[in-house]
Symmetry: C2
Subunit: 217 residues, 2 copies
Amino acid sequence: MDDSAQKTRTRGSRRTDIRRENEQLILRAAEKVFAEAGFGGATMQLIADMAGLPKANLHYYFATKEELYRRVVEDIFQIWLRAADSFDNAPDPASGIGAYIEAKMRISREHPFGSKVWASEVMHGAPVIQDYLETTLRDWTEGRITAIRRWIDQGQMAPIDPRHLLYMIWATTQHYADFGHQIETLNGGKPLNDRQWQAATDSVKAIILRGIGLSGA
Amino acid sequence: MDDSAQKTRTRGSRRTDIRRENEQLILRAAEKVFAEAGFGGATMQLIADMAGLPKANLHYYFATKEELYRRVVEDIFQIWLRAADSFDNAPDPASGIGAYIEAKMRISREHPFGSKVWASEVMHGAPVIQDYLETTLRDWTEGRITAIRRWIDQGQMAPIDPRHLLYMIWATTQHYADFGHQIETLNGGKPLNDRQWQAATDSVKAIILRGIGLSGA
DNA sequence: AAATTTGTTGACCGGCTGGTCAGGTTGTGG
DNA sequence: CCACAACCTGACCAGCCGGTCAACAAATTT
């Protein structure tokens, strides 16, 4: 019965543990509720029930609904960006773009709620993360466009518009999270299994890589 | 000042005109508000203001918020399905799939609000149009898969998984509506102009058609 | 022109929402 | 073991929401 956190020594005082754990508990519950009901449809009570805490406790850790929502969206954006590393350190386009597609497909499967919250946020005009779009995302995008253009200039891939290639990758990979319910329905009401996820990833990679003048895996 | 509708003779009695016009006015306003705020975030008051009518008048034409929302979603689905005609009556895959992509890109530009409402509905688990997914959409999808598979068997295109090709077309074309705000931000804050929309359509067609073993336009 | 049906609207209501707060409990440092 | 800080929560509140309704205006029928 002694599940104290003596092992996690550094800063592992009981107090900070409680804070960290409860914040994560609330954030996970919020991510799901925001994804399934939208910001407007989500209620603090619903999130509290999902987290198994009294509503007032939520307001102890997150002052307002907006603040909680902002934290959820920011956390997702970080995961998003980390997947971009697949792109870097790749000398040839086939491996770089291929790995990026695989990473984004993996995220769609492991973080479907986050993907939906992000999609919802952008669809509603990005009221909370507009600054991220204008700074971090824009910089990242321009960097990748330059990289892709270099590959094209070196004759390593077909002369397509890098921007629309990126949009296609984003759209297609995130589709498996955002429209997961539709895909599930068209799959006989059952979620994609391991084999089907692999087939989806292979199909996306095959079409896109061949579409930009590469042979594929 | 006499804008009476005497020309539209058949069933153009003043009364039915009023009903038809007000319903359309409300539906257009509702489409925009639902798209920008989500179902939960939208309020009847907001829709009423957007339509320039008192709130009580909305409830005269549409009993509940759910009923109004359902009509909006159903209308979009019809537009969606009509674009599918591009697929039919096309003997070869390049023209059939190419025309379908063009039609869906056109819809994304002309009905961005509708596309967002549809996306939102599916993301939230399709509480309103689940039956459409299980019947109409499923039948349509199976039919197209069969058609594509026939093209593959006849050696007219590469042996890709037709299902994931359809998902890619849906995802990519609808992305330009659903994530229009993000695309606009990455375009210097300005919406895509005619030339840019054409470039986007051409890029999508080029990558996908080459990706499935066709030369493109 | 009377009667009837259809359209219009301000005022109102119960219920739910995000958020507050006082008072209690638990952990921590001295 | 005491004092203080962090944590917890039931009860409460003002404001907004979807929806109702009675009373009225306009069109249509008879």
